[in-house]
Symmetry: C2
């Protein structure tokens, strides 16, 4: 393989383990699509254009052929939707649990890959889309809350990678929200050597998530799987950012400060003492 002329290759790998990243009774085509989309979201956070992927599959002997066929149909659907090819892979038996990994390849203009470590004191924190739908959707899948419209469940099962934004000359740092907003903001802070103030009342909620009110705020801010982009943006680029995200909700939710760690503050400026910072597994 040769990257497109004058472009640089980027790679990312993510896995999905039964009982950790998906539930046994989840639809196999959606497991496949989420596997690809989690990785596509990583490429989006690097500002990359996807090319294709390598796949590993490990299946216990009791998995039905029809299950695997549906899984393959999910791969095929998203290969077409995102214009990516399957380059190769490895399959194996497994004693007890199903697991997958996908290695995604993408390309960027040389030196233009977005990174986590470029946030500077004074930069604003922006996010795409709405935050916390997947956390509530997971609870709906586990029967812990009622998702009448199915929107939250859908956001949990089938995230939308924010590909195609031209952010290279607009943002100082980027990451996709996979572990949870607070934890992923922490990754930017620690690699950039800065702290952050996160203004919880500014964090955008979908109407479906907002309906659950303040009781779900901590879950929405600290649990993962949203696959929205979290960006460090110098104030003077805010207009350009809004312009380049024309078809996408984009919201300022705080700012970077000197020091380290994250202060989460509500609309009155009061610190919120969250008991956990990131996603815990099923």
């Amino acid at each position: 393989m040769i990257p497109p002329l004058g472009r640089e290759l980027v790679l990312t790998v993510d896995q999905m383990i039964e009982g950790v990243h998906f539930l046994k009774h989840d639809a196999p085509d959606l497991i496949a699509r989420k596997l690809l989309r989690r990785n596509l979201s990583d490429l989006a956070a690097m500002g990359a254009t996807p090319l294709g992927y390598l796949l590993t599959v490990a299946l216990p002997k009791n998995v039905a052929d029809s299950w695997l066929e549906k899984f393959a149909m999910g791969l095929a659907a998203d290969q077409q939707e995102f214009g990516i090819a399957l380059f190769g892979g490895d399959s194996s038996s497994s004693l007890t649990q199903i697991s997958f990994s996908a290695t995604l390849l993408g390309h960027v203009a040389p030196g233009q890959a977005l990174r986590r470590n470029g946030a500077r004191v004074g930069d604003e924190i922006w996010v795409t889309g709405t935050i916390g739908d997947a956390a509530l959707g997971l609870r709906a899948r586990l029967g812990e809350l009622l998702d009448t419209s199915g929107f939250l469940t859908q956001r949990s099962l089938l995230p939308t990678p924010r590909l195609g934004l031209q952010l290279a000359n607009i943002v100082h740092a980027a990451i996709d929200i996979s572990d949870g907003l607070v934890q992923d903001l922490g990754h930017i802070c620690s690699t950039s050597g800065v702290g952050a103030v996160l203004q919880s009342h500014l964090v955008p909620a979908s109407p479906e998530a907002a309906a659950f009110g303040e009781a779900m705020l901590q879950a929405r801010l600290t649990e993962g799987d949203d696959y929205e982009l979290l960006l460090a943006v110098p104030r003077e680029n805010a207009a350009a950012l809004i312009n380049c995200c024309a078809n996408l909700q984009i919201t300022k939710i705080g700012y970077f400060v000197s020091g380290n760690g994250i202060d989460i503050r509500d609309g009155t400026g009061k610190k919120l003492p969250f008991s956990k910072q990131g996603w815990t597994h099923f």
Copy 2:
């Protein structure tokens, strides 16, 4: 990442699943090294020079930190031995079993990657090294036979990828023996549209394997994990092949014919009726 100037990237991925590719009590550093070496062997079979890798790790919560430290030391040892870098990866918890995957990147001169599908009728079948040591070494690890010197066990736990041979203009097809000699020869045959005659008495055995005699012939020829190269070589290139493998045992073990399937014949020309063709998992 950009491949070295004027070179083409190649990729391969392989996984190691607890209870399938390794045993829980195996030394973690050797599991790590075998994970890399299985993939390095794939690169060797493509005629590629290794660059680096991506890693996934899934660990149940009861795995000790010391286990993981030893695993990391194994990775570090082979990174140094083979001049490869860790480019990134993903770690996850797991409910029941340990699993790993590695995606290896390498480079070749454009259009010079060795392939499986180029064998032609009349080509000779050659193998590097000795065949069947790993099959017997696995039996030794399971306590089923006595490996006094430890050689067979070592061959099973720590294969040697046959990197660095300059085979591009010498062979018509290449594969590494991971599933078993007969099965991997079958992969060349089916993708090339040819059949093969495998001369069992010519298949090279180490002295340690030869000591177990004919009783182990089927195991040696049909079980995997040798990570030797299996090559389709036009007769006129045999001398060049021997020359380019100067420091490595290299043996002619049969020839490709028209048709399909593999005839396994002994020294008298009699067909051997093997009951299985390839590796079965633990």
